[in-house]
């Protein structure tokens, strides 16, 4: 399932850009591939990331995956609910399962992301 209006990376992160902030999560494809998620290591609020920097880790029963920052920016909020309920990513990866919010530091870094149509095509090619 791919949601319209979001932006995507090849590493299967999504970003919802609203004004100067981007909300980040992982896609339905990613949560499906990972299986039952048991732990999320959230970034620290205030930390700054370049695009493609490792920002979080999602652990499932069979793998641990790094989550890369889709844009350049500073963490302004994290979804602390994931600390006790990591399964929210499996249940609702695009809403309740969001990981963090970034204050975008470089608009250009947003332009390199795929839109939902491009991401769908990219998935078909995998």
């Amino acid at each position: 399932m791919v949601v319209e209006g979001l932006l995507y990376t090849k590493e299967h992160e999504w970003a919802r850009v609203e004004g100067d902030t981007a909300t980040i999560g992982i896609t339905d494809y990613a949560q499906e591939m990972l299986g039952e998620i048991v732990f999320v290591e959230l970034p620290v609020v205030g930390k700054e990331f370049q695009s493609h920097d490792e920002m979080a880790v999602v652990e499932s029963t069979k793998a641990a995956s790094d989550i890369y920052s889709p844009v350049k920016g500073k963490v302004v909020q994290v979804n602390s609910e994931l600390e006790s309920k990591p399964e929210l990513i499996n249940e609702d990866c695009y809403k309740m399962g969001w990981i963090c919010r970034l204050e975008i530091a470089d608009r250009k870094s947003v332009e390199t992301l795929m839109d939902s149509k491009q991401y769908e095509e990219y998935l078909e090619g995998l």
């Binding site: 048991v38 732990f39 290591e41 620290v44 652990e59 029963t61 069979k62 793998a63 641990a64 790094d66």
Partner: protein, 443 residues
């Protein structure tokens, strides 16, 4: 056929690719440790080998009355320990590699973890590490991961062998390691707190420390936490029968050498490292962890859990390259603790402390012997100053049938005349008296 999977041509190519000669590749091995020759003698019969080995082992003195401590301790081991651990179902030195098939082994490890948690008053423990030294190194790396910082402060009252190990493990890492110098046999609070800043990941201390002195680190824990750093405490498990636990002091990671829990002192081991921490840090812990769960029809079952931290899944980003544990030694510790029970452990610890206290009083009656530290509190080890070099006195006492103590000059400058003496529950009043007389006669 040589057990080398590549040809001389391939070796030449590999060396050319990295731009080294074979000698340069092995340059880190000190010259005196390099093999002089690989021209081995012809094979020998079983009987010849046994005779040769017996000849070599006869060079050891195994009947000395032991007052040696310094990290490894001569405690009484009930015969039941060996008899239980050598049962075929248990008898493997290694971590299970098809783990869920080995429910008995997993249960034993789970119970070992529970015992370590209760002993240290911490929330989670792993399935064990190689020894006390690697455990404290792993704890340090864990603190660096948790805090994302780069500086570590370690007091020199921590076992010098552990410190040597930490230095050699971290030689090629960019970690700022600072040593503080203990004061009157206790952790140097002033120096430690002076060095802890917003880049400090952890402070590493030991209780009882290498000199046997005991203290409460609660104040240091609180001060270290204020700076966002962690407190790592290495401990001697038998002492926890009567001493305030590292958990109660506010330590974040607790490690130790488990040899005293039913394993004999032996040159080179095998020994047993243990590690416990707070639940919030479990994802940063190294090594295997066994968890309890239920199978699909509701029966109690044990599994290796949180494996995504480990090397076989996380590859280069694993919390450690440890992917094993000291299974048989952990089982030994568990059996020993189960046989002693809570009261037995308390009684053993109390006996050690009482006998050490008696030995201290007795040895202090020798006019030429002085205490080294003013600190009054020790567990079962203490430091005495002699009027001459301790190493020479200790050598003379070996002739008299005593392993009388450890010469501290081996690791500490300015302690040429100091010796570390250890007394466990195994030493008798008579043996202590004999040591005192022998010591007086050689001074």
């Amino acid at each position: 056929m040589p057990f080398i999977s590549n040809t001389p041509e391939q070796q030449k190519q590999m060396l050319a690719d990295i731009g080294l000669t074979m000698d340069e590749l092995f340059a880190d091995i000190p010259a005196e440790l390099m093999a002089k020759s690989f021209d081995l003698p012809a094979g020998a019969s079983e009987q010849q080998v046994r005779e040769r080995l017996a000849e070599l082992s006869d060079k050891n003195s195994t009947d000395l009355i032991c007052f040696l401590g310094g990290g490894f301790y001569d405690h009484f081991i009930p015969a039941a320990v060996n008899s239980i651990i050598s049962r075929g179902e248990f008898y493997t030195a290694y971590t299970p590699y098809q783990p869920e098939l080995s429910q008995g082994t997993l249960q034993a490890i789970y119970e070992f973890q529970s015992a370590i948690c209760r002993l240290t008053e911490m929330e989670v423990a792993n399935a064990s590490l190689y020894d006390g030294g690697t455990a404290v190194y792993e704890a340090m790396m864990m603190a660096l991961r948790i805090t994302g910082r780069n500086k570590v402060v370690i007091d020199d009252s921590v076992n010098p062998i552990y410190r040597v190990m930490i230095h050699s493990y971290t030689r090629n890492l960019r970690i700022e390691l600072e040593e503080t110098h203990c004061k009157d046999g206790l952790a140097n609070r002033e120096q430690i707190l002076d060095r802890v800043d917003d880049q400090t990941a952890a402070v590493i201390l030991q209780n009882p420390n290498f000199f046997g002195c005991i203290e409460d680190f609660s104040d240091i824990a609180a001060a270290v936490h204020k700076k966002g750093a962690l407190l790592i405490v290495s401990c001697y498990p038998i002492s926890l029968g009567i001493l305030k636990t590292p958990g109660a002091m506010g330590a974040d990671i607790v490690t130790g050498e488990g040899q005293s829990l039913g394993m004999p002192v032996s040159f080179g081991g095998p020994y047993l490292g243990f590690m416990a921490s707070r639940k919030q840090y479990v994802h940063k812990m190294p090594g295997r962890i066994v968890g309890e769960t239920t199978d699909k029809i509701g029966r109690r079952a044990y599994v290796l859990t949180l494996q995504a931290r480990e090397q076989h899944i996380r590859r280069d980003k694993a919390t450690s390259n440890i992917c094993s544990n000291e299974a048989l030694c952990a089982l030994t510790a568990l059996v020993y603790l189960s046989l002693l029970g809570k009261e037995g452990l308390k009684a053993t610890a109390q006996l050690c402390a009482d006998k050490a206290s008696y030995a201290y009083q007795r040895l202090m009656k020798i006019s030429k012997v002085q205490p080294h530290f003013r600190a009054k509190w020790f567990f079962n080890e203490f430091v005495l100053d002699l009027p001459c070099e301790a190493a020479g006195v200790i050598a003379k006492l070996i002739e008299e049938g005593f392993a009388a103590g450890f010469p501290l000059s081996r690791y500490y400058q300015g302690m040429e005349n100091s010796m570390l003496i250890c007394v466990t529950e195994k030493r008798t009043k008579q043996q202590i008296g004999m040591l005192a007389e022998a010591l007086e006669s050689v001074l």
